[in-house]
């Protein structure tokens, strides 16, 4: 019996990425070298952007006369020589299924992420941690090559399959030379120059060892803006854990309103810092202080119509969109804004008393939603731009507005609680500092976030405040869990379940209006229609 083993290659990709083309290139190369080869795949509906894979087996030398190698159709765990993945989590999936063996498998994987729906749809950060995949890959692959495939493809105006082919060839695992690969790309006839460029760049990056872990996205392009010099003395009065976020916070608040408002921001931080006293370096307290500085800045600069109009009419924005949408020289860009201001937004901007009256009227008459008007505002045209600027110029009015008043009340309530808890229980304070995370979004989302905030405050936080001996053991955990639950799904059911575990009686789910009900047989046959 001959003991030559087939060379096995597993390609993990997403449907629609051109994995089939890559598959064909490799088969053509093998055929060109006179090597017996077989390729299989499981496209099916996975072609519609789901995970899919391609599997190739070949002999490294031509078969003896008359002999036909028998190739397997499925990859076997522990039996794959090379795993090539077009995306990081797909590489993880191959490791998870046992296809990457520490003694045998070379893993060549893209370093970028294409997030799954499950990750994207979370209210907070649902992204799978890249580093966990890298760590698993380093531990379990005989050789791990992490390549910025998306970056190379974009840089050379080509598709990821060409870059994957280059990385594979550059890793020196194929039984044929680089020229053979380039020949089949050329014979393919479509987008040849770009494919060759992407192939070559990936080949070189891998072959000369420059492929290394590129942690896609993380830390990229952090805004360099820090607060103006004049604020330095004031910021220096804050304890160290607060300073970085506070410096960014001051910039944000200044940009949002004025220097008086920024001073209020710093004063509020000073109050919290004073409550922490000299325990500010203790890890839990430090975390509470840093988070409070971060979230207070975001909260004080809540998004209202004025803010949105201001941000949308800045000079830097058009340049950013031109860049993002890859508008070329000589092309004209028109931008249309999708706005839908409603009674709520208008009332929020009006002076306090007037706004409150409008909102009450709308709530009682069921007009809170029905008066929303969808607007397509062309902000690169004169009238559209003027409208944005007019709204942005309302900034001085903001201090007297209904929403401003309500937000400040709410902030004060949270600050007072935080001050007390920093002294009583650093663990609870750390959780409480994070509570404003649930305040997010616009319209309905914002109302739900506000409701979650208040629900948690009225139950868990008030209970802790009301106890003379400080929060009970486990109270901090319960608060953390409630915040996570509020961010887990938008309906608030998870939050109620979480509160129930903490011994709070759950609220009944909000009733839906009955719009149509079939009557049981025998009853009057009229259909009920009511809203």
């Amino acid at each position: 019996m001959s003991d030559s083993k087939p060379f096995t290659l597993l390609i993990a990709a997403l449907g629609g990425e051109g994995g089939g083309v890559l598959n064909d290139w490799i088969v053509e190369c093998a055929l060109g070298q006179g090597l017996p080869v077989q390729a299989t795949s499981v496209p099916g509906v996975a072609q519609r952007t789901g995970s899919t894979s391609y599997y190739i087996e070949m002999m490294r030398t031509p078969a003896p006369d008359g002999a036909q190698p028998v190739f397997a159709l499925n990859p076997m765990p522990g039996g794959v020589d090379v795993v090539l993945a077009s995306e990081l989590v797909e590489a993880g999936r191959m490791i998870e299924r046992g296809f990457v063996h520490p003694k045998r498998t070379t893993l060549i994987a893209a370093s970028h992420r294409v997030y799954t729906t499950q990750e994207k749809m979370q209210m907070g950060d649902g992204r799978f941690d890249d580093e966990r995949i890298h760590a698993g890959a380093r531990a379990l692959a005989a050789r791990y090559l992490s390549v910025d495939m998306a970056g190379l493809a974009a840089a050379h105006g080509t598709v990821i399959s060409a870059v994957m082919f280059g990385a594979l060839a550059g890793a020196g695992v194929l039984p044929w030379p680089r020229e053979a690969c380039e020949r089949v790309i050329r014979e393919g006839g479509l987008g040849v120059q770009a494919s060759l460029a992407g192939f070559g760049a990936a080949f070189d990056a891998v072959a000369d060892g420059s492929a290394r872990e590129a942690l896609a996205g993380a830390g990229a392009g952090l805004a360099a803006k820090t607060s103006p010099e004049v604020w330095a003395p004031l910021l220096a009065t804050l304890p160290a854990p607060m300073r970085e976020n506070a410096a960014h916070g001051v910039v944000r608040v200044l940009d949002y309103q004025d220097s008086a408002y920024a001073r209020l921001y710093v004063e509020r931080l000073q109050r919290i810092a004073a409550a922490a006293g000299n325990s500010s370096t203790q890890p839990l307290v430090a975390r509470a202080l840093a988070e409070a500085a971060r979230l207070l800045a975001l909260w004080m600069t809540y998004e209202d119509v004025i803010r949105v109009a201001d941000l949308k009419s800045r000079r830097s924005r058009v340049a950013r969109i031109r860049d993002e949408a890859r508008v070329r020289e000589g092309e004209i860009l028109e931008i249309v804004e999708y706005l839908k201001p409603g009674v709520d937004e208008v009332a929020a901007t009006l002076p306090r008393a007037l706004g409150a009256r409008l909102r009450d009227w709308a709530t009682h008459n069921g007009k809170l939603e029905s008066l929303n008007r969808g607007m397509h505002l062309p902000s690169t045209r004169i009238h559209g731009y003027l409208m944005l600027r007019l709204l942005a110029r309302l900034r001085p009015m903001r201090r007297r507005s209904l929403r401003f008043h309500e937000e400040q009340q709410s902030i004060e309530r949270w600050l007072a609680a935080l001050e007390r808890m920093l002294a009583a229980s650093p663990a609870f304070a750390a959780a409480l500092a994070e509570l404003p995370r649930v305040l997010k979004g616009y319209g309905d989302t914002q109302r739900r976030g506000r409701a979650s905030f208040e629900r948690i405050f009225d139950t868990l936080v008030e209970r802790a405040l009301g106890s003379t001996s400080g929060p009970a053991a486990g109270a901090a955990q319960e608060l953390h869990a409630a915040i996570a639950a509020a961010l887990a799904e938008p309906e608030g059911r998870e939050l109620e379940r979480s509160l129930e575990k903490a011994g709070i009686e759950p609220r009944a789910p909000a009733a839906k209006p009955i719009v149509w009900m079939k009557k049981p047989r025998g009853a009057a046959s009229t259909v009920v229609t009511s809203r």
């Binding site: 499925n74 760590a135 379990l140 916070g249 949105v308």
Partner: protein, 715 residues
């Protein structure tokens, strides 16, 4: 059609001695032509779609040969087409995805198999089983057995597959029975080569007409009393004839080995993975030379008792490798051995898994157990080590990742017209509460995945409305049935709509009118827009002027019928709410109109490239999100799930949760903006219209606007 097969069409006409390189299912297509088929039909579905697609696209060449190609509207109509071979000496083949297609076809198949055939009749089924399958996990084998049709399961290499197609027709004619050729998913998509033969022009064809119809012959009708005679014929005449042909033509293969006291009987389709498992044990080499004798069954029904007893006689124990449930082959071999009073021990599902795909890893585990019991002298250490390694690797991965990596099921394409309908339905649920949704087969079944998670049942292709017939009578709130136009024409019109009308059923049916059967590769239906209207539509939806579905429903007596433009989420929402709350009792149909985006992009891309090259004015649209105003709550994603609407790390150091972001693959369908409006989400979305090769007027306007804005814009 989604894919173009111009290169493949050329390889269909290869002559004797030339080498065919390509996919398994296309090798079958070529083998059909080499066998001289007169007609080919079928219904598309992975993994066999390409067989029909390539033939439809190769119409000119088919016409030259005289071969008729029919894109049937369902598997029943395809199966019935084989009726041509009952009375005429013509060869025909049909194809579909199994087991679901065989289920639909089974009425016609029973009535075909009973009288039997004169010309060779072949059914090529894609056995959609194991990894990559999209249907329930059942075997086609049962249909072959119950109807007396012969079942081929060739070794998955192209020369064997082609040989089995050619022999299949001979076998069919030698025994007057239809033959099924089953190919698993990977075998359909396997790339390999074989040496071609010349194609054969059929003797009776679209070019060589049969001048007189066949004479009346009651014995060839599936009608009593001859059906009683058919049953006798099947088992007294046809099956013995088939067995004789199987032996004479050497369809099953014996691979001998030196350990003659052992033996493995394997379904042809599993042979390659079995050899891989034997290689891991050091019992076979790369070329398949095995130390354990193997009886490879390219014909898995009927078995030839003499062949089985001949192989098993004198052996200590034989292992049967048979995938799926029930274990028909193992049971039959047991019967054969008992009848022959052979004492050879028989193993199968006792050592191998009860269900699931038989991968090399799984076969290896079974072989190790088999050898431990019957050949303890053979070394198993390396294989056992490998199996332990595999288990360890999977555990280590889960530990390193602290849990499973996120799943990535298929999703609606970028810009898909069906996504907005489910976004609207989600908004409707916010208003009036949870709905019972009967889902169906098609792209719209992706709505069963996140972020929509719609669907209380899936009962088969075109069955959604029928499956809500019971529910709608005991539900206080009206149930919703979702169906594609593919499913509507496949089965939904009759099983669902006509039945609901007859019974005055009060429910809501949403029909996705995207113009094609899109999950299978955008094949055409009776309501596909004409090529002229598609040309005129360019990149816009071409389905608006196509009203075959509307007319059909009106003609049948549907009184409540609305057509909505899918991308107008607010309108869709209003219409659905109206349907769900209307005092009108009876079937309410909402036709959700929007052409498949794959087809639109296929038209617009080359057109746009051409216009750009010629220096003509072209406007492209895409959407985006203002990072500054996005608060990272992702409610837009929960209402869309578009692949290009994703998240990224914010550049703002104070924000920690990722913000929404639109990638450059955006096709500008407008759903993001519509959803932001309909759900009153947030003001972060913008639409960019980018004008390439602008006209003078464009440039003038832009200059004036820029000058004005520049003058008043703050930094």
């Amino acid at each position: 059609m989604e894919r173009s097969f111009s290169a493949e069409i050329r390889s269909l006409s290869l002559g004797a001695g030339e080498t065919f390189h390509g996919e398994g299912i296309l090798a079958v297509t070529k083998a059909l032509l080499q066998s001289g088929v007169s007609y080919v039909g079928g219904y598309q579905g992975a993994p066999v779609s390409h067989l029909l697609d390539v033939m439809v696209q190769a119409r000119d060449y088919m016409d030259e040969l005289g071969v008729h190609v029919e894109a049937c509207t369902n598997e029943a109509s395809a199966a019935a087409m084989l009726g041509a071979s009952i009375m005429y000496p013509v060869r025909g083949a049909v194809t579909w995805k199994s087991v679901v297609g065989t289920n639909v076809a089974s009425d016609a198949l029973s009535n075909l198999a009973s009288p039997g055939v004169m010309g060779g009749a072949m059914i090529v089924v894609g056995e959609d089983y194991g990894e990559g399958a999209s249907v329930i996990q059942e075997r086609t084998h049962a249909f072959a057995m119950k109807s007396g049709m012969w079942l081929l399961d060739p070794r998955p290499n192209l020369p064997t597959i082609v040989r089995m197609v050619e022999h299949g027709f001979e076998l069919s004619e030698a025994s007057n029975a239809p033959v099924i050729l089953e190919l698993r998913i990977r075998a359909c998509h396997v790339r390999g080569s074989f040496v071609a033969r010349d194609n054969v022009k059929p003797r009776i064809s679209t070019r060589e007409l049969q001048m007189e119809p066949a004479p009346f012959d009651y014995a060839r009708l599936a009608h009593p009393p001859v059906t009683f005679q058919h049953e006798k014929l099947k088992y007294e005449v046809r099956m013995p004839a088939a067995r004789k042909y199987i032996v004479d033509a050497g369809l099953n293969e014996l691979f001998d080995g030196d350990r003659t006291e052992l033996g493995i009987i394997v379904q042809g389709g599993l042979y390659n993975n079995l050899v891989r498992a034997l290689q891991a044990l050091g019992l076979a080499d790369a070329y398949g030379r095995s130390r354990i004798p193997i009886l490879n069954l390219n014909v898995v029904y009927p078995l030839v008792p003499e062949q089985i007893t001949g192989f098993c006689a004198g052996k200590r124990a034989v292992l049967v490798a048979e995938e799926g449930q029930p274990d028909f082959i193992e049971q039959e071999i047991n019967t054969i051995l008992r009848r022959a009073d052979l004492q050879t021990k028989l193993h199968g599902k006792d050592l191998l898994a009860m269900g699931g795909e038989y991968t090399a890893e799984l076969l290896l585990a079974g072989l190790v157990r088999y050898l431990a019991a019957h050949a303890p002298d053979l070394p198993r250490g390396a294989a056992e080590g490998l199996l332990a390694d595999i288990a360890g690797l999977k555990a280590q991965a889960t530990e390193a990742f602290s849990g499973p990596v996120p799943a990535r099921p298929p999703n609606f394409c970028t810009g898909c017209p069906e996504r907005p309908v489910f976004a609207a339905l989600k908004l409707v649920e916010q208003d009036i509460g949870k709905l019972h949704v009967s889902a169906d087969i098609g792209c719209h079944s992706f709505a069963t995945f996140a972020p929509f998670s719609f669907g209380n049942s899936i009962l088969g292709y075109g069955m959604s409305l029928a499956s809500s017939a019971g529910v709608r009578n005991f539900s206080a709130r009206r149930p919703v049935a979702v169906m594609g136009d593919g499913g509507f024409w496949h089965n939904g019109l009759l099983s669902g709509v006509s039945s609901a009308l007859l019974n005055k059923g009060d429910g809501v049916l949403i029909i996705m009118k995207n113009g094609y059967t899109s999950a299978t590769g955008t094949q055409e239906t009776i309501s596909t827009p004409t090529s002229e209207s598609r040309r005129v539509a360019e990149g816009t939806s071409a389905t608006g002027s196509e009203v075959t579905i509307e007319n059909t429903l009106k003609g049948m007596g549907v009184k409540w019928l609305r057509t909505v433009d899918n991308y107008k989420v607010g309108d869709v929402r209003k219409t659905l709410e109206e349907a769900l709350t209307s005092p009108f009792e009876g079937l309410k149909v909402v036709i959700a109109d929007g052409e498949c985006q794959l087809e639109r992009q296929r038209r617009i891309k080359p057109l746009r490239a051409k216009m750009l090259k010629e220096g003509k004015r072209v406007v492209r649209t895409r959407f985006g999100v203002d990072e500054d105003t996005c608060t990272g709550d992702h409610s837009c994603i929960r209402l869309s799930g578009c692949p290009t609407l994703t998240v990224k790390t914010p550049t703002d150091p104070l924000k920690v949760d990722p913000v929404a972001h639109v990638t450059n693959d955006c096709v500008g369908c407008g759903l993001c903006g519509e959803v932001a409006h309909a759900a009153v989400l947030c003001p972060s979305f913008w639409r960019a219209e980018i004008i390439s090769n602008p006209s003078r007027w464009d440039r003038f306007k832009a200059r004036v606007r820029e000058a004005f804005i520049h003058a008043i814009r703050p930094a």
